[in-house]
Point group: C2
Chain length 218, copies 2
């Protein structure tokens, strides 16, 4: 008898649906949208969350400056219009990933509330989840870290319209997740997001509770 | 003892890589790029291929006018510049999907060789596979089908710059797959693509050979 390999697949007529893709992946697609000052730790948390999800066999994908600004948005500059379009396109890409079943992790300062809310609306209209994560870090701490030396340049006037210096950061009024990074370790931050994903049915709790670094080490 | 759920995952230090994502999905990401006249059957084949891949538990995602023209490319019109930018953005999105591990299926006329080759280059530079599929259908047959009534409008002069009528279709010189749709059934066409994916290691042969409609029916 022919062996059925894909045990999580139920055949039906018609086109493959979003739910079918979620079934293949054993997860629900979603957009996790990190927002916060430069140097607040958005990318660091995204990398650690990606590792944590990978350890339990969940597919996530990071959208960040490296693969977006140099790719789909390479024809955009830093004018107000272009910054708005930058966030819009990232939101549309995230929406496609969510529809495909992937948990995308977007790490962009995305300082303007209106732009983020537009991305939220795009998701809601498509019946997809937008999980806004405020990576809340004081300007003093972010500026002290200054991992790319950008605050120094902004203070020296070499960079204009730098968020937190001469351009505003509009904090989310009601984010799904608010990380007070001055009071939390990165492990705690990742756990909060994992708990949110579990409580909202994107991943299954048992899976990450059973994951264990030692066990998974080669 | 803690049970390891994700048996295909091998833990290591560092960031999650493309190969790690491919391991989670048990497939390699790739871009299948259908090109051909309006009415040639690109979308129909993409839908059937998506069904065939789903039946063996493989994750694919279709990029087409419905989710692209109304989304990330909604601010583009039909000028030469915008049509070029339309294809470029789709190519960049497909590249991200391939990097994530997804097999994306793009169905756009994409009539210009230079635009398609630019997308191919984007993929090659990123170490990703671009599988160009020429959905080869004579203009006479495509025009006779005219599923959206577009040829009729183009002949009447109501649509300008319509591919095949008053705008050229530049056929691929050396596509990975050339489907002579006048001599093939859709099942044969899908099988040719599945064989290509198998022979090039994107999916594993045994899995689709063991898939069986009857068996998978609920």
């Amino acid at each position: 008898m022919t062996k059925q390999k894909a045990t999580n697949v139920t055949w039906h007529d018609g086109e493959v649906s979003r739910q079918d893709r979620f079934a293949i992946l054993k997860q629900r697609g979603a957009t996790i949208w990190f927002t916060g000052l430069s140097g607040s730790g958005k990318s660091t948390i995204a990398v650690e969350l990606e590792r944590a999800l990978y350890k339990i066999g969940k597919l996530s994908y990071r959208l960040d400056g490296d693969n977006v600004r140099l790719g789909i948005n390479k024809n955009l500059g830093f004018s107000e219009e272009d910054r708005k379009e930058n966030i819009r396109r990232i939101g549309e890409v995230a929406k496609l990933f969510g529809d495909a079943g992937v948990i995308s992790l977007s790490s962009f300062i995305s300082p303007y509330m209106a732009d983020r809310n537009e991305v939220r609306q795009l998701h809601e209209q498509a019946g997809l989840e937008f999980i806004e994560v405020h990576v809340d870090c004081s300007l003093a701490v972010a500026e002290k870290r200054d991992p790319k030396g950008l605050y120094k340049k902004a203070r020296a006037g070499e960079i204009k319209n730098f968020t937190g210096i001469d351009d505003p950061y509009e904090a989310p009024a009601n984010p799904e997740i608010h990380l007070h990074t001055d009071k939390m370790t990165i492990d705690e931050e990742v756990q909060i997001i994992l708990d949110h994903l579990t409580e909202n049915g994107f991943i299954i709790k048992q899976e990450y509770l059973s994951a264990d670094d030692t066990q998974l080490a080669p």
